[in-house]
Protein backbone atom coordinates (compact mmCIF):
# COMPACT_ATOMS: atom_id res chain seq x y z
CA UNK A 1 0.00 0.00 0.00
CA UNK A 2 1.76 3.09 1.26
CA UNK A 3 5.47 2.41 1.00
CA UNK A 4 5.79 6.15 1.40
CA UNK A 5 4.20 6.35 4.87
CA UNK A 6 6.49 7.36 7.69
CA UNK A 7 8.00 4.49 9.68
CA UNK A 8 6.19 3.63 12.91
CA UNK A 9 8.40 0.71 13.90
CA UNK A 10 12.00 0.20 12.87
CA UNK A 11 13.92 -2.86 13.93
CA UNK A 12 17.66 -2.57 13.34
CA UNK A 13 20.03 -5.54 13.54
CA UNK A 14 18.30 -7.01 16.57
CA UNK A 15 19.76 -10.13 18.14
CA UNK A 16 18.39 -12.20 20.99
CA UNK A 17 19.56 -15.43 22.57
CA UNK A 18 17.96 -17.54 25.29
CA UNK A 19 20.99 -19.08 26.94
CA UNK A 20 22.85 -20.97 24.24
CA UNK A 21 20.01 -20.72 21.74
CA UNK A 22 20.35 -17.83 19.31
CA UNK A 23 16.75 -16.96 18.41
CA UNK A 24 17.17 -13.68 16.52
CA UNK A 25 20.33 -13.25 14.43
CA UNK A 26 20.19 -9.68 13.20
CA UNK A 27 16.66 -8.68 12.26
CA UNK A 28 15.96 -5.58 10.16
CA UNK A 29 12.37 -4.61 9.60
CA UNK A 30 10.50 -1.39 8.91
CA UNK A 31 6.77 -1.04 9.45
CA UNK A 32 5.26 2.13 8.01
CA UNK A 33 2.13 3.93 9.09
CA UNK A 34 -1.10 2.10 8.11
CA UNK A 35 0.94 -0.83 6.89
CA UNK A 36 0.39 -4.47 7.83
CA UNK A 37 3.47 -6.66 7.82
CA UNK A 38 2.98 -10.42 8.01
CA UNK A 39 5.75 -12.45 9.63
CA UNK A 40 5.74 -15.98 8.31
CA UNK A 41 8.06 -18.87 9.05
CA UNK A 42 8.20 -22.20 10.83
CA UNK A 43 7.58 -22.54 14.55
CA UNK A 44 10.77 -21.56 16.34
CA UNK A 45 11.90 -19.22 13.56
CA UNK A 46 11.69 -16.27 15.96
CA UNK A 47 8.37 -14.64 15.08
CA UNK A 48 6.98 -14.56 18.63
CA UNK A 49 10.31 -13.57 20.12
CA UNK A 50 10.57 -10.65 17.72
CA UNK A 51 7.12 -9.38 18.71
CA UNK A 52 7.90 -9.81 22.40
CA UNK A 53 11.17 -7.92 21.95
CA UNK A 54 9.37 -5.05 20.21
CA UNK A 55 6.87 -4.86 23.12
CA UNK A 56 9.82 -4.95 25.56
CA UNK A 57 8.62 -8.15 27.20
CA UNK A 58 12.02 -9.55 26.31
CA UNK A 59 15.26 -7.64 26.50
CA UNK A 60 17.23 -7.70 23.26
CA UNK A 61 20.95 -8.49 23.29
CA UNK A 62 21.98 -6.12 20.53
CA UNK A 63 20.54 -3.73 17.95
CA UNK A 64 17.83 -1.09 18.29
CA UNK A 65 14.09 -0.78 17.96
CA UNK A 66 12.56 2.60 17.16
CA UNK A 67 8.95 3.63 17.70
CA UNK A 68 8.00 6.78 15.81
CA UNK A 69 11.66 7.55 15.39
CA UNK A 70 12.58 7.24 19.07
CA UNK A 71 14.75 4.41 20.28
CA UNK A 72 12.78 2.27 22.77
CA UNK A 73 15.31 -0.45 23.51
CA UNK A 74 17.68 1.83 25.41
CA UNK A 75 17.82 0.80 29.10
CA UNK A 76 17.05 4.39 30.06
CA UNK A 77 13.64 4.24 28.35
CA UNK A 78 10.70 3.42 30.61
CA UNK A 79 9.21 0.22 29.14
CA UNK A 80 5.78 0.96 30.64
CA UNK A 81 5.43 4.14 28.60
CA UNK A 82 6.42 2.26 25.44
CA UNK A 83 3.97 -0.57 26.03
CA UNK A 84 1.18 1.97 26.48
CA UNK A 85 1.80 3.00 22.87
CA UNK A 86 1.76 -0.56 21.55
CA UNK A 87 -0.79 -3.38 21.61
CA UNK A 88 0.05 -7.08 21.75
CA UNK A 89 -2.37 -9.95 21.18
CA UNK A 90 -1.22 -13.38 22.31
CA UNK A 91 -1.69 -16.77 20.73
CA UNK A 92 -3.32 -18.12 23.90
CA UNK A 93 -5.46 -14.96 24.42
CA UNK A 94 -4.13 -14.49 27.99
CA UNK A 95 -7.37 -12.90 29.12
CA UNK A 96 -7.67 -12.22 32.84
CA UNK A 97 -9.89 -15.10 33.99
CA UNK A 98 -11.12 -13.35 37.14
CA UNK A 99 -12.55 -10.45 35.17
CA UNK A 100 -15.48 -10.10 32.80
CA UNK A 101 -14.96 -9.37 29.12
CA UNK A 102 -15.67 -5.70 29.74
CA UNK A 103 -13.32 -5.53 32.74
CA UNK A 104 -10.58 -7.08 30.62
CA UNK A 105 -11.01 -4.38 28.02
CA UNK A 106 -11.20 -1.42 30.41
CA UNK A 107 -8.42 -2.36 32.85
CA UNK A 108 -5.66 -0.81 30.77
CA UNK A 109 -7.71 2.27 29.97
CA UNK A 110 -8.44 2.90 33.61
CA UNK A 111 -5.10 2.01 35.19
CA UNK A 112 -2.58 2.74 32.45
CA UNK A 113 -4.25 5.57 30.59
CA UNK A 114 -6.08 7.15 33.52
CA UNK A 115 -9.55 7.14 31.98
CA UNK A 116 -12.55 7.48 34.26
CA UNK A 117 -14.63 4.37 34.81
CA UNK A 118 -17.59 5.74 32.85
CA UNK A 119 -15.41 6.84 29.97
CA UNK A 120 -13.50 3.55 29.82
CA UNK A 121 -16.64 1.43 30.06
CA UNK A 122 -18.42 3.35 27.36
CA UNK A 123 -15.47 2.89 25.05
CA UNK A 124 -15.11 -0.76 26.12
CA UNK A 125 -18.75 -1.55 25.33
CA UNK A 126 -18.44 0.10 21.93
CA UNK A 127 -15.30 -1.89 21.18
CA UNK A 128 -16.84 -5.19 22.22
CA UNK A 129 -19.88 -4.42 20.07
CA UNK A 130 -17.64 -3.58 17.16
CA UNK A 131 -16.04 -7.03 17.38
CA UNK A 132 -19.41 -8.77 17.57
CA UNK A 133 -19.50 -9.20 21.34
CA UNK A 134 -22.46 -7.03 22.30
CA UNK A 135 -24.29 -8.77 25.12
CA UNK A 136 -21.18 -10.67 26.29
CA UNK A 137 -19.75 -7.80 28.35
CA UNK A 138 -20.42 -9.49 31.69
CA UNK A 139 -19.26 -12.97 30.69
CA UNK A 140 -16.05 -14.32 32.08
CA UNK A 141 -13.52 -15.76 29.63
CA UNK A 142 -14.51 -19.28 30.80
CA UNK A 143 -17.95 -18.80 29.29
CA UNK A 144 -16.70 -17.60 25.92
CA UNK A 145 -15.55 -19.64 22.94
CA UNK A 146 -11.93 -19.40 21.82
CA UNK A 147 -12.90 -17.10 18.98
CA UNK A 148 -14.84 -14.83 21.32
CA UNK A 149 -11.98 -14.78 23.81
CA UNK A 150 -9.52 -13.81 21.12
CA UNK A 151 -11.81 -11.01 19.95
CA UNK A 152 -11.99 -9.72 23.54
CA UNK A 153 -8.20 -9.86 23.58
CA UNK A 154 -8.02 -7.86 20.36
CA UNK A 155 -10.43 -5.29 21.81
CA UNK A 156 -8.28 -5.15 24.95
CA UNK A 157 -5.09 -4.55 22.96
CA UNK A 158 -6.81 -1.98 20.78
CA UNK A 159 -8.49 -0.10 23.65
CA UNK A 160 -5.36 1.95 24.33
CA UNK A 161 -5.40 3.21 20.69
CA UNK A 162 -1.89 1.87 20.08
CA UNK A 163 0.42 3.24 17.41
CA UNK A 164 0.92 -0.33 16.25
CA UNK A 165 -0.73 -3.64 17.01
CA UNK A 166 1.38 -6.77 17.32
CA UNK A 167 -0.51 -10.00 16.65
CA UNK A 168 1.21 -13.21 17.70
CA UNK A 169 -0.38 -16.13 15.83
CA UNK A 170 -3.78 -15.05 17.05
CA UNK A 171 -5.61 -17.92 15.32
CA UNK A 172 -3.22 -20.78 16.05
CA UNK A 173 -4.99 -21.94 19.20
CA UNK A 174 -8.44 -21.84 17.62
CA UNK A 175 -10.66 -24.55 16.22
CA UNK A 176 -10.78 -24.14 12.42
CA UNK A 177 -14.40 -22.96 12.38
CA UNK A 178 -13.56 -20.09 14.75
CA UNK A 179 -10.61 -18.74 12.77
CA UNK A 180 -12.76 -16.70 10.40
CA UNK A 181 -14.37 -14.49 13.05
CA UNK A 182 -10.99 -13.51 14.48
CA UNK A 183 -9.52 -12.79 11.07
CA UNK A 184 -12.56 -10.62 10.35
CA UNK A 185 -11.71 -8.52 13.41
CA UNK A 186 -8.13 -8.08 12.18
CA UNK A 187 -9.35 -7.21 8.69
CA UNK A 188 -11.63 -4.60 10.25
CA UNK A 189 -8.65 -2.98 12.01
CA UNK A 190 -6.63 -3.05 8.82
CA UNK A 191 -9.40 -1.23 6.98
CA UNK A 192 -9.32 1.43 9.65
CA UNK A 193 -5.64 1.92 8.87
CA UNK A 194 -4.16 0.28 11.95
CA UNK A 195 -0.44 -0.32 11.67
CA UNK A 196 0.15 -4.01 12.36
CA UNK A 197 2.76 -6.71 12.62
CA UNK A 198 1.07 -10.07 12.18
CA UNK A 199 2.88 -13.30 12.93
CA UNK A 200 0.75 -15.91 11.21
CA UNK A 201 0.46 -19.34 9.68
CA UNK A 202 -2.57 -18.30 7.63
CA UNK A 203 -1.05 -17.71 4.21
CA UNK A 204 -4.30 -16.81 2.50
CA UNK A 205 -4.90 -14.22 5.18
CA UNK A 206 -1.38 -12.84 4.82
CA UNK A 207 -1.93 -12.59 1.08
CA UNK A 208 -5.18 -10.71 1.62
CA UNK A 209 -4.34 -8.32 4.44
CA UNK A 210 -0.59 -7.77 4.44
CA UNK A 211 1.20 -5.09 2.49
CA UNK A 212 4.50 -6.77 3.17
CA UNK A 213 5.39 -10.36 3.96
CA UNK A 214 8.63 -11.19 5.75
CA UNK A 215 9.85 -14.76 5.83
CA UNK A 216 11.79 -15.64 8.98
CA UNK A 217 14.14 -18.57 9.02
CA UNK A 218 16.38 -19.40 11.96
CA UNK A 219 16.30 -15.89 13.34
CA UNK A 220 16.88 -14.04 10.07
CA UNK A 221 14.55 -12.43 7.58
CA UNK A 222 15.47 -14.35 4.44
CA UNK A 223 13.01 -12.71 2.13
CA UNK A 224 10.71 -9.74 2.24
CA UNK A 225 8.35 -8.07 -0.16
CA UNK A 226 4.74 -7.71 -1.26
CA UNK A 227 2.68 -10.89 -0.72
CA UNK A 228 2.37 -11.54 -4.45
CA UNK A 229 6.13 -11.67 -4.70
CA UNK A 230 7.06 -13.59 -1.54
CA UNK A 231 4.16 -16.04 -1.57
CA UNK A 232 3.72 -16.57 -5.32
CA UNK A 233 7.25 -16.20 -6.63
CA UNK A 234 9.65 -16.77 -3.73
CA UNK A 235 13.29 -16.15 -4.54
CA UNK A 236 14.84 -18.22 -1.78
CA UNK A 237 14.97 -22.03 -1.58
CA UNK A 238 14.06 -21.95 2.10
CA UNK A 239 10.95 -19.88 1.39
CA UNK A 240 9.88 -22.28 -1.36
CA UNK A 241 10.45 -25.25 0.91
CA UNK A 242 8.44 -23.66 3.72
CA UNK A 243 5.56 -22.76 1.43
CA UNK A 244 5.41 -26.21 -0.16
CA UNK A 245 5.34 -27.81 3.29
CA UNK A 246 2.38 -25.61 4.17
CA UNK A 247 0.74 -26.52 0.88
CA UNK A 248 1.10 -30.21 1.69
CA UNK A 249 -0.46 -29.59 5.08
CA UNK A 250 -3.33 -27.81 3.33
CA UNK A 251 -2.72 -24.52 5.06
CA UNK A 252 -1.78 -22.29 2.13
Amino acid sequence: MSASGKPVLEVRDVTKAFGERQVLRGIDLTVREHEAVALIGASGSGKSTLLRCIDLLEEIDDGDVFLDGEVITDPAVDPVGVRRRLGLVFQAYNLFPHMTALENVVLGERRAHGASRAEAEEQGRALLARFGLAGREDDRPDNLSGGQQQRVAIARAFAGRPRALLLDEVTSALDPELVGEVLAAVRDLKQEGMTMVIATHEMSFAREVADQVAFLHEGRILEQGPPAQVLEAPQQDETRRFLSRLLEAGRA
Binding site: R52, D55, L57, P79, V80, R83, R84, L86, G87, L88, F90, A92, N94, L95, F96, P97, H98, L107, G108, R111, A112, H113, A153, R156, A157, A159, G160
Partner: protein
Protein backbone atom coordinates in the same frame (compact mmCIF):
# COMPACT_ATOMS: atom_id res chain seq x y z
CA UNK B 1 -15.24 -48.54 74.20
CA UNK B 2 -18.41 -48.50 76.27
CA UNK B 3 -17.85 -52.14 77.30
CA UNK B 4 -14.19 -51.72 78.22
CA UNK B 5 -13.36 -52.50 81.86
CA UNK B 6 -12.13 -48.94 82.44
CA UNK B 7 -15.18 -47.22 80.98
CA UNK B 8 -17.10 -46.48 84.21
CA UNK B 9 -14.03 -44.77 85.61
CA UNK B 10 -13.37 -42.86 82.37
CA UNK B 11 -16.99 -41.76 82.30
CA UNK B 12 -16.68 -40.48 85.82
CA UNK B 13 -13.42 -38.53 85.24
CA UNK B 14 -13.87 -37.31 81.65
CA UNK B 15 -17.61 -37.11 81.06
CA UNK B 16 -18.93 -35.97 84.41
CA UNK B 17 -22.06 -33.92 83.72
CA UNK B 18 -22.00 -32.18 87.08
CA UNK B 19 -18.38 -31.08 86.70
CA UNK B 20 -19.09 -30.08 83.12
CA UNK B 21 -21.95 -27.80 84.10
CA UNK B 22 -19.92 -26.25 86.85
CA UNK B 23 -16.73 -25.68 84.86
CA UNK B 24 -18.24 -24.68 81.53
CA UNK B 25 -18.90 -20.97 82.26
CA UNK B 26 -15.33 -20.42 83.40
CA UNK B 27 -13.82 -22.30 80.45
CA UNK B 28 -16.09 -20.38 78.11
CA UNK B 29 -14.96 -17.12 79.70
CA UNK B 30 -11.37 -18.10 78.96
CA UNK B 31 -12.31 -19.11 75.44
CA UNK B 32 -13.18 -15.52 74.49
CA UNK B 33 -9.54 -14.66 75.01
CA UNK B 34 -8.64 -17.43 72.57
CA UNK B 35 -11.08 -16.14 70.00
CA UNK B 36 -9.94 -12.53 70.36
CA UNK B 37 -6.26 -13.45 70.12
CA UNK B 38 -6.97 -15.73 67.18
CA UNK B 39 -8.71 -12.97 65.23
CA UNK B 40 -5.99 -10.41 65.86
CA UNK B 41 -3.11 -12.76 65.12
CA UNK B 42 -4.84 -14.12 62.02
CA UNK B 43 -5.34 -10.63 60.59
CA UNK B 44 -1.68 -9.79 61.22
CA UNK B 45 -0.54 -13.12 59.76
CA UNK B 46 -2.53 -12.60 56.56
CA UNK B 47 -1.09 -9.12 56.07
CA UNK B 48 2.52 -9.93 56.97
CA UNK B 49 2.47 -13.18 54.98
CA UNK B 50 1.20 -11.39 51.89
CA UNK B 51 3.84 -8.69 52.17
CA UNK B 52 6.64 -11.21 52.59
CA UNK B 53 5.39 -13.35 49.70
CA UNK B 54 5.24 -10.34 47.40
CA UNK B 55 8.78 -9.37 48.38
CA UNK B 56 10.02 -12.89 47.93
CA UNK B 57 8.54 -13.26 44.44
CA UNK B 58 9.53 -9.80 43.21
CA UNK B 59 12.13 -9.71 40.46
CA UNK B 60 13.53 -6.24 41.00
CA UNK B 61 17.27 -6.53 41.65
CA UNK B 62 16.97 -3.74 44.22
CA UNK B 63 14.88 -6.06 46.40
CA UNK B 64 17.56 -8.75 46.55
CA UNK B 65 18.59 -8.06 50.19
CA UNK B 66 14.95 -8.00 51.27
CA UNK B 67 14.29 -11.22 49.35
CA UNK B 68 17.15 -12.83 51.22
CA UNK B 69 15.70 -11.63 54.52
CA UNK B 70 12.33 -13.18 53.75
CA UNK B 71 14.04 -16.50 53.04
CA UNK B 72 15.80 -16.34 56.41
CA UNK B 73 12.57 -15.31 58.15
CA UNK B 74 10.60 -18.20 56.69
CA UNK B 75 13.32 -20.79 57.28
CA UNK B 76 13.80 -19.64 60.84
CA UNK B 77 10.23 -19.33 62.07
CA UNK B 78 8.86 -22.26 60.13
CA UNK B 79 11.73 -24.42 61.29
CA UNK B 80 11.21 -23.90 65.02
CA UNK B 81 8.33 -25.75 66.70
CA UNK B 82 5.58 -23.27 67.56
CA UNK B 83 5.56 -24.29 71.21
CA UNK B 84 9.28 -23.55 71.43
CA UNK B 85 8.75 -20.12 69.85
CA UNK B 86 6.07 -19.38 72.44
CA UNK B 87 8.55 -20.25 75.18
CA UNK B 88 11.43 -18.30 73.67
CA UNK B 89 9.44 -15.14 72.98
CA UNK B 90 7.25 -15.40 76.09
CA UNK B 91 10.09 -15.82 78.54
CA UNK B 92 13.01 -14.48 76.53
CA UNK B 93 11.74 -11.00 75.71
CA UNK B 94 10.77 -10.03 79.27
CA UNK B 95 14.10 -11.41 80.49
CA UNK B 96 15.90 -8.81 78.37
CA UNK B 97 14.26 -6.18 80.59
CA UNK B 98 14.34 -3.63 77.80
CA UNK B 99 11.90 -0.80 78.17
CA UNK B 100 9.43 -0.43 75.33
CA UNK B 101 9.15 -4.14 74.67
CA UNK B 102 5.87 -5.77 75.59
CA UNK B 103 5.72 -7.87 78.75
CA UNK B 104 2.09 -8.96 78.65
CA UNK B 105 2.14 -12.74 78.13
CA UNK B 106 -0.91 -12.55 75.87
CA UNK B 107 0.84 -10.08 73.58
CA UNK B 108 4.07 -12.08 73.64
CA UNK B 109 2.23 -15.31 72.95
CA UNK B 110 0.42 -13.60 70.09
CA UNK B 111 3.73 -12.39 68.64
CA UNK B 112 5.19 -15.90 68.82
CA UNK B 113 2.16 -17.40 67.08
CA UNK B 114 2.28 -14.61 64.49
CA UNK B 115 5.95 -15.28 63.71
CA UNK B 116 5.34 -18.97 63.27
CA UNK B 117 2.16 -18.74 61.21
CA UNK B 118 3.23 -15.83 59.03
CA UNK B 119 6.16 -17.97 57.91
CA UNK B 120 3.78 -20.73 56.84
CA UNK B 121 1.32 -18.35 55.25
CA UNK B 122 4.10 -16.62 53.29
CA UNK B 123 4.82 -19.92 51.60
CA UNK B 124 1.15 -20.53 50.88
CA UNK B 125 0.81 -17.13 49.21
CA UNK B 126 4.06 -17.66 47.34
CA UNK B 127 2.81 -20.93 45.92
CA UNK B 128 -0.32 -19.10 44.78
CA UNK B 129 1.61 -16.29 43.12
CA UNK B 130 3.85 -18.77 41.33
CA UNK B 131 0.84 -20.75 40.13
CA UNK B 132 -0.46 -17.82 38.07
CA UNK B 133 0.70 -18.37 34.50
CA UNK B 134 3.41 -15.97 33.33
CA UNK B 135 1.21 -15.11 30.35
CA UNK B 136 -0.99 -13.22 32.80
CA UNK B 137 1.85 -10.92 33.77
CA UNK B 138 2.82 -10.50 30.11
CA UNK B 139 -0.73 -9.53 29.22
CA UNK B 140 -0.95 -7.08 32.13
CA UNK B 141 2.33 -5.41 31.13
CA UNK B 142 1.30 -5.42 27.47
CA UNK B 143 -1.74 -3.25 28.19
CA UNK B 144 0.56 -0.77 29.87
CA UNK B 145 0.31 -1.64 33.56
CA UNK B 146 3.32 -1.20 35.82
CA UNK B 147 4.73 -4.22 37.65
CA UNK B 148 2.95 -3.14 40.83
CA UNK B 149 -0.37 -2.70 39.00
CA UNK B 150 0.01 -6.10 37.33
CA UNK B 151 0.51 -7.62 40.77
CA UNK B 152 -2.38 -5.75 42.35
CA UNK B 153 -5.01 -6.14 39.63
CA UNK B 154 -4.05 -9.32 37.82
CA UNK B 155 -1.75 -11.65 39.72
CA UNK B 156 -2.74 -11.35 43.38
CA UNK B 157 -6.52 -11.64 42.85
CA UNK B 158 -5.97 -14.93 41.05
CA UNK B 159 -3.30 -16.15 43.45
CA UNK B 160 -5.33 -15.46 46.58
CA UNK B 161 -8.44 -17.13 45.19
CA UNK B 162 -6.40 -20.25 44.47
CA UNK B 163 -4.84 -20.49 47.91
CA UNK B 164 -7.97 -19.64 49.90
CA UNK B 165 -8.51 -23.29 50.93
CA UNK B 166 -4.97 -23.86 52.27
CA UNK B 167 -5.08 -20.41 53.92
CA UNK B 168 -8.29 -21.34 55.73
CA UNK B 169 -6.66 -24.60 56.69
CA UNK B 170 -3.96 -22.61 58.44
CA UNK B 171 -6.76 -20.57 60.08
CA UNK B 172 -8.08 -23.74 61.67
CA UNK B 173 -4.61 -24.76 62.83
CA UNK B 174 -3.97 -21.34 64.35
CA UNK B 175 -7.31 -21.33 66.11
CA UNK B 176 -6.22 -24.48 67.95
CA UNK B 177 -2.63 -23.42 68.54
CA UNK B 178 -3.80 -20.33 70.40
CA UNK B 179 -4.05 -22.74 73.36
CA UNK B 180 -0.23 -22.85 73.38
CA UNK B 181 -0.09 -19.45 75.05
CA UNK B 182 -1.46 -21.14 78.17
CA UNK B 183 2.13 -22.12 78.99
CA UNK B 184 2.85 -18.44 79.55
CA UNK B 185 0.06 -18.20 82.10
CA UNK B 186 -2.81 -16.23 80.52
CA UNK B 187 -6.20 -17.50 81.62
CA UNK B 188 -7.57 -18.81 78.37
CA UNK B 189 -9.84 -21.84 77.91
CA UNK B 190 -7.25 -24.58 78.14
CA UNK B 191 -5.57 -22.95 81.13
CA UNK B 192 -8.89 -22.63 82.98
CA UNK B 193 -9.68 -26.23 82.17
CA UNK B 194 -6.32 -27.33 83.57
CA UNK B 195 -6.81 -25.33 86.75
CA UNK B 196 -10.22 -26.80 87.39
CA UNK B 197 -8.90 -30.24 86.54
CA UNK B 198 -6.15 -29.76 89.10
CA UNK B 199 -8.66 -28.78 91.76
CA UNK B 200 -11.22 -31.50 91.11
CA UNK B 201 -8.98 -34.29 89.78
CA UNK B 202 -11.53 -34.54 87.00
CA UNK B 203 -10.75 -34.19 83.29
CA UNK B 204 -14.22 -33.12 82.21
CA UNK B 205 -13.24 -29.41 81.92
CA UNK B 206 -10.76 -30.41 79.23
CA UNK B 207 -13.65 -32.00 77.33
CA UNK B 208 -15.53 -28.72 77.72
CA UNK B 209 -12.58 -26.85 76.23
CA UNK B 210 -12.29 -29.38 73.40
CA UNK B 211 -15.97 -28.88 72.55
CA UNK B 212 -15.49 -25.13 72.42
CA UNK B 213 -12.59 -25.46 69.98
CA UNK B 214 -14.67 -27.81 67.86
CA UNK B 215 -17.54 -25.31 67.88
CA UNK B 216 -15.26 -22.92 65.98
CA UNK B 217 -13.06 -25.23 63.93
CA UNK B 218 -15.83 -27.43 62.48
CA UNK B 219 -17.78 -24.53 60.94
CA UNK B 220 -14.48 -23.14 59.65
CA UNK B 221 -13.76 -26.50 58.02
CA UNK B 222 -17.12 -26.36 56.24
CA UNK B 223 -16.20 -22.90 54.95
CA UNK B 224 -12.95 -24.38 53.64
CA UNK B 225 -14.97 -27.05 51.82
CA UNK B 226 -17.28 -24.48 50.32
CA UNK B 227 -14.43 -22.36 49.02
CA UNK B 228 -12.56 -25.40 47.74
CA UNK B 229 -15.39 -25.96 45.27
CA UNK B 230 -18.07 -28.62 44.96
CA UNK B 231 -15.58 -31.51 44.93
CA UNK B 232 -14.54 -30.61 48.49
CA UNK B 233 -18.04 -30.78 49.96
CA UNK B 234 -19.01 -33.96 51.81
CA UNK B 235 -22.39 -35.10 50.57
Amino acid sequence: MLTSPGWPEVRETFFNWGVFRESFPEVLGGFWLDVKLFLIVEAAVLAVGLGLAVLRTSRAPAFFPLRLLTVVYVDLFRGIPTILLVFLVGFGIPALRLSGLPTDPVVLGGIALGLSYSAYVTEVYRAGIRSVHRGQRDAALAIGLTDAQALRHVILPQAIRRVAPPLLNDFVALQKDVALISILGPLEAFRYAQIIEGETFNFTPLIAAALLYLAVTVPLARVVDRIGGPEGVVR
